[in-house]
């Protein structure tokens, strides 16, 4: 039978971000897929190298609107790793609280969008109404609904106003009954069971092969979470559980995210209750030459930042690796063999965030790609050899 190609994108009504997928189908079954990215590329790494360490936080925040805490968290940890320095306790708790409120609103956002992808718009409207409460909490705590601008190398930029804390706690307690109802409505719904169970299965071996991260990996039984594996912030001081399920299908990814919302609520409440006093900022003046790495468990998986400093007030090299960069290739493992009607929800199940993932390729005027994979490896090896020579290493 002749194969046909279905284009999805670049501006598809279901996706709020521009991204171009081509699905090759045989009848109704997907036999191959390809993805073309670059519609969102803004050259963040290069821009960040033009700014001072303090200013770069604001650029990093705008990598992605939903992860506007995760990237600065990883970046500030990378800068602190260069010095190296330990931030004050109060700053650690404030960072953790903001990161977890972000996780709650990101998971709720994903849940709503998943409902929308399935054509179940009741869930979409219901969940997004609930999400507004969390955005209110963020606004009360930091002054902004998104892009909180609260991180800086060495601490946090602003302290909480302690008069607002009772209101915040009331709002967080207020959403728990609604999340409970939501959990029952979603996890007991026969329609959702029929649509989501047993589709888009990602096995444990595939997770390890593709190095998938975050809820995508945890839904397949791979217990992988930076917050537990290498604790930072206040994560080792509060009691919380890592949610791991076994099946790896889309339904399990829903379960992981719904249950993680509860854990995040627990972390926020404990952190607010135990918020220590003291300084919030170390007032770092100079960054010495050196290298540093920072990681943070974003709502979608591990965000990783690398910083190289040459002793000036700007990063000499800044490298960002967002979780979707690792998770998106698993789409190839999960979608092939499924029918076209499941393609969108299987894609949505990894919670893709393309603006974090953007990379670019250099082509000449005829459209020929100038640097392929092997060329880049060769360039990289040559550069490593050159650097070793300059540094006098064997």
């Amino acid at each position: 039978m002749a194969k046909s190609v279905i284009p999805i994108g670049p501006w598809h009504p279901l996706q709020e971000e521009p991204e171009f997928f081509t699905l090759t189908v045989d009848g109704e079954t997907v036999v191959d897929m390809d993805v073309s990215i670059g519609y969102n590329h803004r050259g963040i790494e290069k821009l960040s190298e033009m700014k001072s360490f303090d200013q770069a936080t604001f650029v990093i925040e705008r990598i992605c609107g939903i992860c506007s805490t995760s990237h600065p968290f990883a970046y500030t940890r990378a800068v602190e790793d260069v010095i190296p320095v330990e931030v004050p306790d109060r700053a650690k708790y404030i960072r953790t609280i903001i990161a977890e409120t972000e996780r709650i609103h990101s998971h709720l956002l994903w849940l709503g969008l998943a409902g929308h992808f399935l054509g179940y718009n009741t869930i979409y409207h219901w969940v997004w109404k609930l999400r507004e409460e969390i955005l209110d909490v963020c606004e009360i705590l930091t002054g902004n609904r998104n892009n909180y601008a609260i991180f800086k190398p060495g601490g946090v930029r602003r302290d909480f106003n302690m008069d607002d804390i009772p209101l915040v706690l009331r709002k967080i307690d207020g959403i728990i009954p609604t999340v409970d109802r939501l959990k029952k409505a979603i996890l007991d719904d026969p329609v959702l069971h029929a649509r989501l169970k047993g589709i888009g299965i990602l096995t444990k071996e595939e997770v390890i092969d593709y190095s998938a991260l975050g809820p995508t990996a945890r839904a397949s039984g791979v217990a992988k979470d930076v917050r537990k594996d290498a604790p930072y912030g206040a994560y080792d001081r509060v009691d919380w559980d890592m949610i791991v399920t076994e099946n790896g299908d889309v339904f399990d990814k829903v379960v992981v995210r719904v249950l993680e919302t509860y854990e995040s609520i627990k972390i926020v409440k404990t952190c607010i209750a135990e918020l220590p006093g003291g300084e919030i900022d170390l007032n770092i003046k100079d960054i010495p030459p050196g290298e540093g790495i920072g990681a943070h468990e974003a709502p979608r998986g591990e965000t990783f930042h690398y910083i190289r400093s040459d002793g000036t007030n700007r990063p000499a090299r800044h490298k960002v690796r967002a979780p979707t960069f690792m998770n998106l290739p698993t789409y190839k493992a999960t979608v092939i063999g499924e029918t076209i009607s499941y393609a969108t929800i299987i894609l949505a199940a990894i919670d893709p965030c393309y603006c974090c993932t953007e990379r670019m390729a250099v082509r000449d005027v005829e459209g020929k790609r100038l640097f392929g994979g092997p060329d880049l490896v060769k360039l990289s090896q040559e550069k490593t050899a050159r650097m070793k020579r300059e540094m006098g290493m064997p």
Binding site: P10, W11, P13, E16, E17, P18, G38, Y39, N40, H41, R42, G43, K46, L47, M50, F58, V59, R62, I63, C64, G65, I66, S68, L109, G112, Y124, H125, W128, K129, E132, R145, N146, N147, C353, C355, M360
Partner: protein, 140 residues
Amino acid sequence: MSFAVNAMLKSPWVFHLSTGSCNNCDIEILDCLTPRFDIERFGMLLVGSIKHADVLLVTGSCNRKSAGRLKTLYEQAPQPCVVVAIGECSLSRGLFIHSYNCPVPLDKIIPVSVYIPGCPPKPEAIIGGVVKLIQKVKGT
């Protein structure tokens, strides 16, 4: 005022286009549709194709790959089509002004009627902007 414009003002259908944004403005646009803000009560509906739309909501800093496609899409839109630039990136490219991949601001590519500043603008600001747009069209 022509019949088409009069009918459009009763229920402006919007198409949303992201040209290299950080997602925040896009999510705030979707937020406008959800129960707390609910712009559908003004007859505004998010549609899936530019060919159904009266209003084009553009977010993001128009990078090299999107800019040409944006122009093509605008040319496909049925006239009259008004363009609303949402967020600092589409106004002036914001902090991406020095980026190698964001060569020109949005209003050098297609004509823009309303600018809504903010990073990201709050849903109230987006609703306010669209109301201003309706007043502006009514005034002419």
